[in-house]
Symmetry: C2
Subunit: 434 residues, 2 copies
């Protein structure tokens, strides 16, 4: 049988990895896919550089549109990133009747609805396993492996850079800025790390996971996004003493009245597997009503781990493109005409438990006044610790039971107005994950 | 579109769970599959009992063959267990052109080659996600999610009963027999627990994982199988002090000269996620050359977790049965005409590191003589601890570097023949899992 012909848009880190894996494991991949999968054409900015990497025998040009319109290309792999040119190329590839594989979470988190609709109308597949958690087949797991379930929630460590930073902050007792600098030196963080450390990258991925889990359209603009730049080393240490680890989690939950969609630092009980995922690794915990909790773990970034997912998608397309397009695996797990209209809830409506830390004057009645403010807003206290601060006064930490965030915000405002409260209240969210 | 009609063979634990999940999540499943999936016919031994469970509206009989021959049935779900009648029914269903879903690992471990060949010839799908690790989509992960990779090894906790027993033995310091009795009381172990505690169930599953990972035919009879019945509580305690946990692992590795296929108690570094999988949970670690290590975790047994996998397979068949049968996802991950002829290695040829414990007289020269026996067989010692035994003499534990099992067996024979060695040598295998 003829080989499946692949056009590669971009030959950077992931593109280079895809080339390398397809070449090295060509025989084994063909034994799995039933035919060879070959890169026949590449579009890049620097042709000479690409030529030096892949040698002769592959057409290389700077013209991405010529590639997506080439009748000899069966599948277009988009690895150029960004959401302007990438969007145009992907839509043109679809219009040309090509299947598309992409690792571009930003593109899909913003333009996924448009892209998937175009693909469904044209009867082509858009595969994006590499967009979330690198080589871990988490999209396949949710979209195909857990289809029996009413999925209840998904909680994941889906950004390796921030997990590396948090792991180092805890293990070595260092502040955020120092560890970030080191992460940049080691290549775990980019020169401009904003997208990672502010939680935006995780929110892109979480947006896709929420759609796959609950059958809602992609709605990145409704996600609550809080990164780790404000996280103090002392809160990591307090959490540890209380039996918790702090992880940057993407969390999405289905409630009767809507869907929670949020990325933020989260206290997790230290004995959970998720709490023990260290360094740049990724892990996603998915809870279904039939299967219970399941967890998926592996390298969430890097040249070959990400290429592993890209190539798996190429094999998937090769195996499945002949299936009836109307009933083939839907892009977002649910049939396009059967999406849910459940709304994304605002962060004020989120319900979870909280870690609240504040510095107070060490005088009688302090605790009573704070406890009253919390009680008046239906926030019950699970536990409390108090310890003298080095420079006078005391630090109090409350761990609350489940409460509504809007109420917690009100309570914080009132607590901060108390005359004996010397600091802003540090507020972190907690998840039990059972 | 017409519903997909399912015939259920068996309505025991998993069959009942499948019925319940299909009913409860019918709407959500239809939104994913693009059409409804309905049980239209059931075959059981006790019709009245089944009728009381499922109500009217479903045809129930005792005749499995009538069910698999019913033209109105699209997919046959085999949940009766065993490998005699189940084999005949599955082969007849295939002959009738039906797709088959089964949770029967014993059947596939023994008759998988025959069954998959028949299915390929007839162009039907035989799906078996429920056969390994319950609701965890590990078969899908290896067969479809990691297709880019040359898989190097798979190591898994794939029997919940034994993991529960080992977890309790460690946590509570109790001997095997006591914990087994409790596990039976709690329903974690069957009245006749032989298949679980002797490692046979794990070996059935591992046999399937090896075929999926390496593209070799199913060869259960070549698997090395060692259970946990001989495992002493004191070795769990020693392992803990040395920084290890003991887990019953199914391990399969690809080497240049063949494939290792073995189930046995294994020392694993305590900091590995796999070492921290407790109770009746399952977890499988898969290492691919591109993706690195990936881990899949969840409930490996039970009514609804197993049903989760059965129903996911029903959705898969519904989505994919229209794809070209010659290129659709192959049953064992590799195209049937592209299987490998790599041989399964005997346990004597296995290469790993070892934990060796023995009781000796406390006299000079003991260590030198034992070390010499090991060195003569190219077994190098990674570490050693010695401690006085309560009833005189001393216990010595060696942790070796990687060595060939045949050499280790010879060394053990010579060590046991030494005049100052008072006990048999306890030999456990170790895996670093990186």
């Amino acid at each position: 049988m003829n080989p499946m012909k692949v056009g590669l848009l971009g030959l950077g880190v992931v593109g280079g990895g895809t080339w390398a894996v397809l070449a090295r494991n060509a025989e084994e991949i063909a034994r799995r896919a039933g035919r060879r999968i070959e890169v026949s054409r590449i579009a890049v900015r620097d042709v000479a550089k690409a030529r030096s990497r892949v040698g002769d025998g592959v057409e290389i040009s700077t013209d991405g549109f010529a590639l997506v319109r080439d009748p000899a290309v069966d599948i277009v792999v988009e690895l150029i990133g960004g959401d302007t040119l990438a969007r145009e190329l992907v839509l043109e590839a679809i219009a040309q009747g090509k299947h598309v594989v992409t690792a571009n979470k930003a593109l899909l988190a913003k333009h996924g609805n448009e892209i998937f609709a175009a693909a469904s109308a044209r009867g082509v597949m858009v595969a994006f396993e590499a967009a979330v958690a690198g080589g871990v087949p988490i999209i396949k797991a949710i979209r195909e492996g857990l289809t029996a379930n009413r999925i209840e929630w998904v909680a994941g460590i889906i950004n390796g850079t921030t997990n590396f930073i948090l792991s180092e902050m805890r293990a070595r007792g260092l502040p955020f800025a120092d560890v970030l600098a080191e992460a940049q030196r080691l290549g775990y963080a980019e020169a401009d790390p904003t997208f990672d450390i502010e939680g935006v990258d995780a929110a892109h991925k979480l947006t896709l996971l929420a759609s796959l889990a609950f059958g809602v359209p992609v709605q990145f603009d409704k996600a609550y996004v809080e990164g780790i730049t404000q996280l103090a080393q002392e809160d990591i240490a307090h959490a540890e003493r209380l039996g918790y680890r702090i992880k940057l989690l993407g969390i999405t939950k289905r409630r009767v009245d809507g869907i929670e969609l949020r990325v933020h630092p989260t206290l997790v009980p230290a004995e959970r597997l998720l709490a023990n995922v260290e360094g740049a690794m990724n892990a996603v915990l998915v809870r279904g009503d039939a299967v219970g909790p399941t967890l998926y773990y592996g390298q969430g970034a890097g040249e070959e781990p990400t290429a592993s997912a890209v190539v798996a998608d190429l094999v998937d397309v090769t195996r499945l493109h002949t299936a009836d397009p109307g009933h083939r695996v839907p892009h977002l797990a649910f049939q396009p005409d059967a999406l849910s209209d459940l709304q994304i809830l605002s962060i004020e409506e989120v319900s979870t438990s909280y870690y609240l830390r504040m510095r107070v004057d060490d005088q009688p009645g302090v605790l009573a006044d704070i406890a009253r403010i919390l009680a008046d807003r239906s926030i019950s206290i699970g536990s409390m610790i108090q310890q003298p601060a080095r420079i006078g006064g005391a630090d109090i930490i409350f761990l609350t039971h489940e409460a509504v965030e809007g109420n917690v915000n009100q309570a914080i405002e009132h607590i901060e107005a108390l005359p004996f409260v010397r600091s802003k209240v540090t507020r972190l969210r907690m998840e039990n994950l059972t």
